[in-house]
Amino acid sequence: MTIHIDDLNNMQLDVLREIGNIGAGNAATALAKMLNKKVNMDVPKVKILEFKYVNDILGGADQLVVGILLRVNGDLTGNIMFMLDINAAHALVDMLMGDFASNASESAEFSEIEISALKEIGNILASSYLTSMSALTNLKIMPSVPDIAIDMAGAILSVPAIEFGKIGDTVLYIETEFLEGNSRVVGDFFLVPDMESYEVLLRALGVIS
């Protein structure tokens, strides 16, 4: 049996949302520890979007963002992406590295060590997300080495979206927004399991038999 994302019922969507909640909760804790600051998060959104509208999220397809992408391997396959607004990325690096970081906040330029720091943030967050998911489902889930792109939101998001293009006209994102104090959105966390993995995931949780 293969399930189609358009056929997912409310209960199944709730379960996916809850997975996102737990995973992102862990990631937020990790981020808070790293920054030594309070990090809040929104209730995750499970979004099923037509491709046409994918570009509207994150304030427009040509917004400059930092995308840190990790491939997920093991029992579950897919992509996990941490997307940061460019200002938030600079702020995050500044907080982590103190005086070493530059002050420019609107630019797409990051030094090598800043890029490395961003990748490491992505790595830690994705790992904590996946660890909790793995513990919950008893599935073996491993993240790959992180890769980074600093470019237009639409161009970056199209990478996981194309995976979905092969089998449908919609894409399913489990999205969680991170907020830090009053400086609004820190980033968006996207979990984009490969199509076959929804079934594995829902089955491991006993939602479908």
């Binding site: 491709f51 995308g67 790959s144 792109a149 237009m152 639409g154 998001l157 990478v159 995976e163 092969k166």
Partner: protein, 161 residues
């Protein structure tokens, strides 16, 4: 100001003069601009995948290079374009992430460009110019007055082809 028409991901639009057709944030996707300079009818497609034949679900014909180009040409002819006058310019097909793995997803940009060129050749639509490949996103604008194709990037300048 000319009419601005937006094309989403896996979407296509054709229009009469005067207009500007745009699509934002092309990554591995390819933007295919078709133009008939005699009637000034323009069309733009934002495709995601090379071929409808390899996909399990191919109901959205704007998603694939092969079906999208055929549909776009049809739409333009309906608006009055001359089939034999239509020319093409393409942009996109980048590789956004450098992932060192053999997955097909990674080389999808290059495959999209190849497929697009094959289809254009098959339909005998001349490809005037292209701005493809690289590892950066592109936002494109097609102007109906002279068929110029403007490509904006972040950190890689603005080009016109």
């Amino acid at each position: 100001m000319d009419r601005l028409i937006k094309v989403g991901m896996a979407d296509l639009q054709a229009s009469c003069h005067p207009c500007v057709i745009t699509t934002l944030g092309l990554g591995s996707c390819v933007g295919i601009a078709l133009y008939d300079r005699y009637t000034k009818i323009a069309g733009l497609a934002h495709i995601m995948l090379p071929s409808s034949l390899q996909a399990r679900n191919n109901s959205n014909i704007a998603k694939f290079a092969d079906t999208a180009i055929v549909k776009l040409v049809e739409d333009m002819i309906k608006l009055g374009a001359h089939r034999e006058k239509i020319t093409a310019k393409i942009a996109g097909g980048a590789q956004m992430f450098a992932f060192n793995q053999s997955s097909d997803v990674i080389r999808i940009g290059a495959r999209n460009v190849l497929a697009t060129k094959d289809v254009l050749a098959e339909l005998k639509i001349p490809l005037l110019s292209e701005d493809t490949g690289g590892n950066y996103g592109r936002t494109v604008e097609l102007y109906s007055d002279d068929g110029r194709f403007l490509i904006k990037t972040i950190g890689h300048g603005i080009t016109q082809i």
